[in-house]
Symmetry: C2
Subunit: 131 residues, 2 copies
DNA sequence: AGACATTACATGCGTACGCATCTAATGTCT
DNA sequence: AGACATTAGATGCGTACGCATGTAATGTCT
Protein backbone atom coordinates (compact mmCIF):
# COMPACT_ATOMS: atom_id res chain seq x y z
CA UNK A 1 0.00 0.00 0.00
CA UNK A 2 1.25 3.43 -0.95
CA UNK A 3 2.38 6.01 1.52
CA UNK A 4 -0.56 8.16 0.58
CA UNK A 5 -3.91 6.69 -0.40
CA UNK A 6 -5.05 7.65 -3.83
CA UNK A 7 -7.86 9.98 -2.82
CA UNK A 8 -5.42 12.20 -0.98
CA UNK A 9 -3.29 12.83 -4.01
CA UNK A 10 -5.71 15.40 -5.32
CA UNK A 11 -5.75 17.11 -1.97
CA UNK A 12 -1.95 17.09 -1.83
CA UNK A 13 -1.88 18.65 -5.27
CA UNK A 14 -4.36 21.32 -4.25
CA UNK A 15 -2.27 22.23 -1.24
CA UNK A 16 0.88 22.30 -3.31
CA UNK A 17 -0.78 24.63 -5.79
CA UNK A 18 -2.15 26.82 -3.05
CA UNK A 19 1.22 27.17 -1.36
CA UNK A 20 3.03 27.74 -4.60
CA UNK A 21 0.67 30.40 -5.86
CA UNK A 22 0.57 32.14 -2.53
CA UNK A 23 4.33 32.47 -2.29
CA UNK A 24 4.83 33.05 -5.97
CA UNK A 25 2.31 35.89 -6.18
CA UNK A 26 3.64 37.50 -3.02
CA UNK A 27 7.17 37.35 -4.38
CA UNK A 28 6.13 38.71 -7.73
CA UNK A 29 4.36 41.63 -6.12
CA UNK A 30 7.08 42.48 -3.63
CA UNK A 31 9.98 42.15 -6.04
CA UNK A 32 8.37 43.96 -8.90
CA UNK A 33 6.97 46.78 -6.79
CA UNK A 34 10.06 47.39 -4.69
CA UNK A 35 12.80 46.51 -7.15
CA UNK A 36 11.20 46.27 -10.57
CA UNK A 37 12.28 42.65 -10.76
CA UNK A 38 10.21 39.65 -11.76
CA UNK A 39 10.59 36.34 -9.97
CA UNK A 40 12.39 34.77 -12.94
CA UNK A 41 14.74 37.70 -13.14
CA UNK A 42 15.54 37.52 -9.47
CA UNK A 43 16.09 33.77 -9.57
CA UNK A 44 18.43 34.14 -12.52
CA UNK A 45 20.36 36.92 -10.86
CA UNK A 46 20.47 34.90 -7.67
CA UNK A 47 21.94 31.87 -9.40
CA UNK A 48 24.57 34.07 -11.01
CA UNK A 49 25.60 35.88 -7.85
CA UNK A 50 25.81 32.66 -5.90
CA UNK A 51 27.64 30.69 -8.55
CA UNK A 52 31.24 29.69 -7.73
CA UNK A 53 32.92 31.77 -10.44
CA UNK A 54 30.36 34.56 -10.45
CA UNK A 55 29.28 33.61 -13.95
CA UNK A 56 27.38 30.84 -15.64
CA UNK A 57 26.61 29.60 -19.09
CA UNK A 58 23.02 29.88 -20.15
CA UNK A 59 22.67 26.12 -20.25
CA UNK A 60 24.04 25.89 -16.72
CA UNK A 61 21.45 28.39 -15.57
CA UNK A 62 18.85 26.34 -17.38
CA UNK A 63 19.62 23.36 -15.18
CA UNK A 64 19.00 25.41 -12.06
CA UNK A 65 15.85 27.24 -12.95
CA UNK A 66 12.33 26.27 -13.85
CA UNK A 67 12.01 28.00 -17.16
CA UNK A 68 11.96 26.77 -20.71
CA UNK A 69 15.12 27.39 -22.66
CA UNK A 70 13.46 30.14 -24.65
CA UNK A 71 12.05 31.85 -21.58
CA UNK A 72 15.47 31.77 -19.97
CA UNK A 73 17.08 33.19 -23.08
CA UNK A 74 14.67 36.08 -22.98
CA UNK A 75 15.04 36.58 -19.25
CA UNK A 76 18.78 36.95 -19.72
CA UNK A 77 18.17 39.31 -22.62
CA UNK A 78 15.94 41.42 -20.39
CA UNK A 79 18.56 41.49 -17.64
CA UNK A 80 21.22 42.50 -20.14
CA UNK A 81 19.01 45.23 -21.56
CA UNK A 82 18.69 46.68 -18.07
CA UNK A 83 22.43 46.52 -17.55
CA UNK A 84 22.23 43.94 -14.78
CA UNK A 85 24.24 41.27 -16.59
CA UNK A 86 26.54 41.01 -19.58
CA UNK A 87 26.55 38.25 -22.16
CA UNK A 88 29.79 37.02 -23.68
CA UNK A 89 30.54 34.39 -26.26
CA UNK A 90 32.68 31.56 -24.95
CA UNK A 91 35.97 31.19 -26.83
CA UNK A 92 36.29 27.45 -26.31
CA UNK A 93 32.80 26.59 -27.43
CA UNK A 94 31.54 29.39 -29.56
CA UNK A 95 27.96 28.23 -29.24
CA UNK A 96 27.93 28.86 -25.52
CA UNK A 97 27.18 32.21 -23.93
CA UNK A 98 28.40 33.06 -20.47
CA UNK A 99 26.41 35.44 -18.32
CA UNK A 100 28.03 37.68 -15.72
CA UNK A 101 26.28 40.03 -13.33
CA UNK A 102 27.39 43.64 -13.50
CA UNK A 103 28.11 45.76 -10.46
CA UNK A 104 24.65 47.21 -10.78
CA UNK A 105 23.27 43.69 -11.02
CA UNK A 106 25.01 42.66 -7.82
CA UNK A 107 23.86 45.82 -6.12
CA UNK A 108 20.24 45.26 -7.09
CA UNK A 109 20.43 41.64 -6.05
CA UNK A 110 21.82 42.59 -2.66
CA UNK A 111 18.99 45.07 -2.34
CA UNK A 112 16.30 42.63 -3.36
CA UNK A 113 17.53 39.59 -1.45
CA UNK A 114 16.16 40.78 1.93
CA UNK A 115 12.78 41.44 0.34
CA UNK A 116 12.87 37.95 -1.09
CA UNK A 117 13.81 36.43 2.26
CA UNK A 118 11.16 38.43 4.08
CA UNK A 119 8.41 37.22 1.78
CA UNK A 120 9.56 33.64 2.21
CA UNK A 121 9.61 34.05 5.96
CA UNK A 122 6.12 35.53 5.88
CA UNK A 123 4.59 32.90 3.65
CA UNK A 124 6.65 29.81 4.32
CA UNK A 125 7.93 30.57 7.75
CA UNK A 126 5.51 29.33 10.34
CA UNK A 127 4.31 26.43 8.26
CA UNK A 128 5.49 22.98 9.08
CA UNK A 129 7.12 21.56 5.98
CA UNK A 130 4.48 19.51 4.22
CA UNK A 131 2.80 19.46 0.87
CA UNK B 1 13.28 29.37 17.60
CA UNK B 2 11.41 28.76 14.37
CA UNK B 3 10.54 25.34 13.10
CA UNK B 4 12.86 25.89 10.19
CA UNK B 5 16.03 27.93 10.44
CA UNK B 6 16.16 30.87 8.11
CA UNK B 7 18.75 29.54 5.71
CA UNK B 8 16.52 26.60 4.86
CA UNK B 9 13.65 28.77 3.72
CA UNK B 10 15.26 29.35 0.37
CA UNK B 11 15.83 25.64 -0.03
CA UNK B 12 12.23 24.92 0.93
CA UNK B 13 11.09 27.40 -1.67
CA UNK B 14 13.30 25.84 -4.32
CA UNK B 15 11.86 22.41 -3.59
CA UNK B 16 8.34 23.75 -3.63
CA UNK B 17 8.97 25.37 -7.01
CA UNK B 18 10.59 22.23 -8.36
CA UNK B 19 7.71 20.03 -7.29
CA UNK B 20 5.09 22.45 -8.52
CA UNK B 21 6.65 22.94 -11.92
CA UNK B 22 7.26 19.25 -12.35
CA UNK B 23 3.65 18.31 -11.67
CA UNK B 24 2.21 21.35 -13.37
CA UNK B 25 4.12 20.82 -16.61
CA UNK B 26 3.34 17.11 -16.65
CA UNK B 27 -0.35 17.84 -16.14
CA UNK B 28 -0.36 20.52 -18.79
CA UNK B 29 1.25 18.18 -21.31
CA UNK B 30 -0.90 15.16 -20.56
CA UNK B 31 -4.20 17.02 -20.40
CA UNK B 32 -3.62 19.15 -23.44
CA UNK B 33 -2.24 16.35 -25.59
CA UNK B 34 -4.80 13.74 -24.66
CA UNK B 35 -7.88 15.87 -24.07
CA UNK B 36 -7.11 19.32 -25.42
CA UNK B 37 -7.61 20.75 -21.96
CA UNK B 38 -5.37 23.15 -20.10
CA UNK B 39 -4.79 22.78 -16.38
CA UNK B 40 -6.95 25.80 -15.57
CA UNK B 41 -9.74 24.46 -17.73
CA UNK B 42 -9.61 21.07 -16.09
CA UNK B 43 -9.56 22.55 -12.61
CA UNK B 44 -12.56 24.71 -13.42
CA UNK B 45 -14.47 21.82 -14.89
CA UNK B 46 -13.48 19.69 -11.92
CA UNK B 47 -14.82 22.23 -9.43
CA UNK B 48 -18.07 22.40 -11.35
CA UNK B 49 -18.61 18.67 -11.63
CA UNK B 50 -17.81 18.11 -7.98
CA UNK B 51 -19.87 21.03 -6.68
CA UNK B 52 -22.96 20.13 -4.63
CA UNK B 53 -25.54 21.48 -7.06
CA UNK B 54 -23.54 20.80 -10.20
CA UNK B 55 -23.19 24.52 -10.82
CA UNK B 56 -21.35 27.44 -9.37
CA UNK B 57 -21.23 31.17 -9.66
CA UNK B 58 -18.09 32.58 -11.15
CA UNK B 59 -17.15 34.22 -7.89
CA UNK B 60 -17.59 30.90 -6.09
CA UNK B 61 -15.24 29.27 -8.56
CA UNK B 62 -12.86 32.12 -7.96
CA UNK B 63 -12.58 31.19 -4.31
CA UNK B 64 -11.60 27.65 -5.22
CA UNK B 65 -9.07 28.23 -7.94
CA UNK B 66 -5.75 29.99 -8.22
CA UNK B 67 -6.52 32.35 -11.02
CA UNK B 68 -7.11 36.05 -11.17
CA UNK B 69 -10.69 37.09 -11.68
CA UNK B 70 -9.99 38.06 -15.26
CA UNK B 71 -8.20 34.82 -16.06
CA UNK B 72 -11.09 32.86 -14.61
CA UNK B 73 -13.59 34.87 -16.58
CA UNK B 74 -11.72 34.02 -19.76
CA UNK B 75 -11.29 30.38 -18.81
CA UNK B 76 -15.05 30.08 -18.40
CA UNK B 77 -15.51 31.87 -21.72
CA UNK B 78 -13.19 29.35 -23.39
CA UNK B 79 -15.07 26.45 -21.86
CA UNK B 80 -18.37 27.90 -23.01
CA UNK B 81 -17.05 28.45 -26.51
CA UNK B 82 -16.13 24.77 -26.66
CA UNK B 83 -19.57 23.76 -25.44
CA UNK B 84 -18.30 22.32 -22.17
CA UNK B 85 -20.22 24.69 -19.91
CA UNK B 86 -23.10 27.13 -20.17
CA UNK B 87 -23.28 30.55 -18.58
CA UNK B 88 -26.53 31.91 -17.22
CA UNK B 89 -27.46 35.16 -15.55
CA UNK B 90 -28.74 34.74 -12.02
CA UNK B 91 -32.27 36.06 -11.54
CA UNK B 92 -31.84 37.01 -7.89
CA UNK B 93 -28.64 38.92 -8.36
CA UNK B 94 -28.40 39.96 -11.94
CA UNK B 95 -24.70 40.69 -11.66
CA UNK B 96 -23.89 37.07 -10.93
CA UNK B 97 -23.34 34.44 -13.59
CA UNK B 98 -23.83 30.76 -12.85
CA UNK B 99 -21.79 28.21 -14.73
CA UNK B 100 -23.08 24.72 -15.45
CA UNK B 101 -21.22 21.89 -17.15
CA UNK B 102 -22.92 20.45 -20.23
CA UNK B 103 -23.22 16.74 -20.91
CA UNK B 104 -20.20 17.02 -23.15
CA UNK B 105 -18.38 18.83 -20.39
CA UNK B 106 -19.13 16.08 -17.91
CA UNK B 107 -18.12 13.45 -20.44
CA UNK B 108 -14.80 15.13 -21.14
CA UNK B 109 -14.14 15.59 -17.45
CA UNK B 110 -14.83 11.91 -16.80
CA UNK B 111 -12.45 11.10 -19.59
CA UNK B 112 -9.70 13.41 -18.40
CA UNK B 113 -9.94 12.67 -14.68
CA UNK B 114 -8.04 9.36 -14.91
CA UNK B 115 -5.27 11.08 -16.87
CA UNK B 116 -5.13 13.73 -14.18
CA UNK B 117 -5.00 11.14 -11.42
CA UNK B 118 -2.35 9.11 -13.22
CA UNK B 119 -0.06 12.12 -13.59
CA UNK B 120 -0.49 12.95 -9.91
CA UNK B 121 0.29 9.37 -8.97
CA UNK B 122 3.38 9.42 -11.16
CA UNK B 123 4.72 12.71 -9.93
CA UNK B 124 3.40 12.99 -6.40
CA UNK B 125 2.85 9.36 -5.57
CA UNK B 126 6.00 7.88 -4.10
CA UNK B 127 7.09 11.10 -2.48
CA UNK B 128 6.68 11.52 1.21
CA UNK B 129 4.61 14.62 1.80
CA UNK B 130 7.02 17.44 2.41
CA UNK B 131 7.89 20.73 0.84
C1' DA C 1 37.54 14.65 -44.90
C1' DG C 2 32.48 14.49 -45.56
C1' DA C 3 27.75 13.40 -43.94
C1' DC C 4 24.69 13.37 -40.15
C1' DA C 5 23.45 14.06 -35.35
C1' DT C 6 23.62 16.86 -31.45
C1' DT C 7 24.17 20.93 -28.65
C1' DA C 8 23.66 25.96 -27.53
C1' DC C 9 21.18 29.69 -28.02
C1' DA C 10 17.88 32.98 -30.44
C1' DT C 11 13.43 34.04 -32.36
C1' DG C 12 8.57 33.86 -34.62
C1' DC C 13 4.25 32.76 -33.04
C1' DG C 14 0.21 31.92 -30.48
C1' DT C 15 -1.73 31.89 -25.84
C1' DA C 16 -2.82 32.53 -20.93
C1' DC C 17 -1.78 35.44 -17.50
C1' DG C 18 -2.35 39.72 -14.15
C1' DC C 19 -3.42 44.59 -13.71
C1' DA C 20 -6.24 48.25 -14.46
C1' DT C 21 -10.49 49.74 -15.90
C1' DC C 22 -15.30 49.58 -17.43
C1' DT C 23 -20.33 48.58 -16.93
C1' DA C 24 -24.11 47.16 -14.48
C1' DA C 25 -26.42 45.70 -10.34
C1' DT C 26 -26.77 45.71 -5.46
C1' DG C 27 -26.05 47.43 -0.74
C1' DT C 28 -25.70 51.27 2.62
C1' DC C 29 -26.30 55.56 4.77
C1' DT C 30 -28.55 59.88 5.52
C1' DA D 1 -35.46 58.62 -2.62
C1' DG D 2 -30.69 60.13 -3.79
C1' DA D 3 -25.65 59.86 -3.31
C1' DC D 4 -21.79 56.94 -2.68
C1' DA D 5 -19.55 52.50 -1.94
C1' DT D 6 -19.22 47.83 -3.06
C1' DT D 7 -19.65 43.65 -5.71
C1' DA D 8 -19.85 40.71 -10.06
C1' DG D 9 -18.15 40.00 -14.14
C1' DA D 10 -16.09 41.44 -18.85
C1' DT D 11 -12.48 43.47 -21.48
C1' DG D 12 -8.28 46.41 -23.23
C1' DC D 13 -3.60 46.07 -22.71
C1' DG D 14 1.02 44.74 -22.01
C1' DT D 15 3.98 40.83 -20.81
C1' DA D 16 6.09 36.33 -19.96
C1' DC D 17 5.44 31.93 -21.14
C1' DG D 18 6.11 27.31 -23.99
C1' DC D 19 6.45 25.16 -28.49
C1' DA D 20 8.40 24.83 -32.73
C1' DT D 21 11.88 26.22 -35.56
C1' DG D 22 16.09 28.52 -37.21
C1' DT D 23 21.19 29.19 -37.15
C1' DA D 24 25.62 28.21 -36.02
C1' DA D 25 29.14 25.43 -33.75
C1' DT D 26 30.61 21.02 -32.14
C1' DG D 27 30.76 15.97 -31.86
C1' DT D 28 30.58 11.35 -34.13
C1' DC D 29 30.95 7.84 -37.41
C1' DT D 30 32.60 5.77 -41.55
Amino acid sequence: MPLTPDGDLCERWRQLMARYHDVSCALERALSQQHELGVSEFETLDLLVKSPYGKQFVHELHAGIHLSQSALSRTVARLEKRGLVTRAMCTNDRRAVSVTPTEEGRRLHAEAAPTHAAVLADHLGELQPQA
